[in-house]
Symmetry: C2
Subunit: 358 residues, 2 copies
């Protein structure tokens, strides 16, 4: 490797700046993965594995608990916002919030906590900002699930310093109605598939979403048409209509239960075809686990639920409860004026160190 | 003109065959229009006018009534079905039914009835099989409405030897609903425009169309969604949805009344935008007019209503009641195996001659 290795003696903000100045747009992570691997291999207390451009490092101290600190190393495309720029306590640049500040904190903990009170696993993965099937964490979970084993996981995604627990599941189904074509001047000769979709929309419009409290977090479900499409020509009674429905559900439902619920909602609506188009299960916050409770005590504040689907669900699927907790600001992610307050980076690193050492 | 003129001494079926063998796909009618003009100018009892590829010929006998016999001279594209072929009393070929057999009857009446009991106007027009704005009858109506004046009009469109009276109007409106975008994981932050279309579909599904009897003909209206479209992305609450509605209405309604009715149907449905996309008025059958009554007596049978919009409405808009009556079979129009029974051609010509001479 000819790259200058990352200097893990830099403080969190300076290391973040160094990472931002090391472009790693999705699909082009190899140089950064190489540098991270090289830096970690230099630390004698860690065992390092690599799979593609994903790097996993572990302590093997025989502690009774193991926690995972994970983060993606890719960014969305650069938008005239590299190199980074530090201005009055704020670091500007692509990936400052999402999530090279989080990766910097991971690397700082890896370098400065050689004897943690819990065994640690550090996961650095690629392709989080692109199609789900490219996601490096998914690839590691499929090929080496044992590398991700643990009692609790923290993803250092931007969460503005608050803890976001679990995530809701997302199920997308296509509901198709059928009819019979006819010239619209003789509509009684046919049967209108768009009209046949009326009961589906009625159920959707009348639907009362649940707001269950799980592990102390109030989730908020939703059942919505996200697309509707029907029609052959402006003088033809349509024989087909499709309503695309998205169900966002709380983590007290399994994938099977969520699917059964949607079937039940649209029972008797004259749906001719019911197609599951996409399904990603929910993730429990797992805040009742002792490691999570200690984590909450160390970072302080009150956890809030995560409504959108995130990579914590990949840990949940492996039986590892997970939360998002990172120094970035999610509202600034993917923006041209992406930035992070350097104080947040230092704060996040200190809170994690406190949790893992006291 | 170098073209061999049409020989109007041929009988109806033979003249139909000659016309079919004279290709005149929409946009390429000039040679046929030239031949028709030349043949008509050879008849001393007719005054001939021309506008583009539209030819109008008239008797000027000072009769108390004037009737119009009209037909389009274009066809849909040829589909290996030219030249024509006569087989066991059936003439096969492009345009045999739609509507060169009708044009042959017009030409035969023009040539063989020099002293009709009613003044006659013969209209031969182009571009009926293509976009409405190209329609030759529409062009003549706009430029020379006086050429189309009369008490009653017969379009020799294929009607299988039955009289089809008037036509229904057709109104197309776009009904738009709006909402507010939000991530579908936080749907309560937005407002779903597809769900907002529910009352529109409910009204459509519950709509009871009228079947008014006009001039003895029972019409049959229809109000239908012919297209629906909404959606931004599968993870976004949609902020817009459009339902395209087609109202086919009986000729006891004016265009204004039809539009007012549709406004009324969807009142209180939360329609954010109401756009008239297309509107063509209905045509009264006018069967109570003395010329029409005499026509019905001569051709026999019972008139039926025309549900689809046709060029009779262009006459109706000029104050001329009109019917479709022709030898072709509408079910065979535009087909590769298009054909006409020669007996139908002779029968139609005889009935019209009887009406115009006795």
């Amino acid at each position: 490797m000819s790259e200058t290795p990352l200097d893990l003696a830099l403080d969190g903000p300076a290391l973040t700046a160094r990472l931002v100045d090391f472009p790693s747009v999705s699909g082009e992570e190899k140089p950064l993965a190489d540098a991270i691997e090289q830096a970690l291999r230099a630390l004698p207390h860690l065992t390092v594995d690599r799979y593609g451009n994903n790097v996993v490092a572990r302590t093997e101290l025989g502690r009774s608990e193991r926690v995972v600190l994970a983060g993606h190393i890719d960014t969305v495309p650069i938008a005239d916002n590299v190199p980074s720029r530090l201005d009055d306590g704020v670091l500007w640049g692509c990936g400052t919030s999402d999530m090279k500040s989080g990766v910097a904190v991971q690397l700082r903990i890896a370098a400065t906590v050689p004897e943690p009170n819990r065994d640690l696993t550090f996961v650095f993965y690629d392709n989080e900002e692109v199609a789900a099937d490219l996601n490096g964490l998914g690839h590691v979970a499929a090929a080496h699930p044992d590398w991700l084993a643990g009692d609790f996981a923290v993803l250092l995604e931007p969460s503005d310093g608050e803890v976001e627990g679990g995530c809701q599941g997302t199920l997308r189904v296509l509901l198709r109605t059928t009819g019979e074509r006819a010239h619209s001047a003789r509509s009684w000769m046919g049967s209108n598939a768009i009209h046949a979709a009326t009961p589906i929309l009625q159920r959707l419009a009348a639907y009362e979403p649940r707001r269950p409290v799980i592990d102390g977090l109030e989730f908020h479900e939703g059942l919505n048409a996200v697309r509707i499409e029907g029609g052959v020509a402006t003088n033809v009674i349509p024989d087909a209509c499709t309503v695309v429905v998205n169900y966002r559900y709380a983590p007290d439902l399994t994938e099977e239960e969520a699917l059964a619920h949607v079937h039940e909602v649209f029972e008797g609506c004259g749906v001719a075809e019911f197609v599951v188009d996409d399904h990603s299960g929910a993730a429990l916050p797992g805040l009742s686990h002792p490691a999570a409770a200690a984590f909450m005590a160390a970072v302080g504040g009150k956890a809030r639920p995560k409504f959108g689907w995130t990579d914590v669900a990949r840990f949940s699927a492996l039986g590892v409860p997970a939360v998002n907790y990172g120094p970035g600001n999610p509202l600034l992610a993917h923006k041209r004026d992406e930035r992070v307050a350097v104080e947040r980076i230092t704060h996040c690193e200190e809170r994690l160190r406190e949790w893992l050492t006291r």
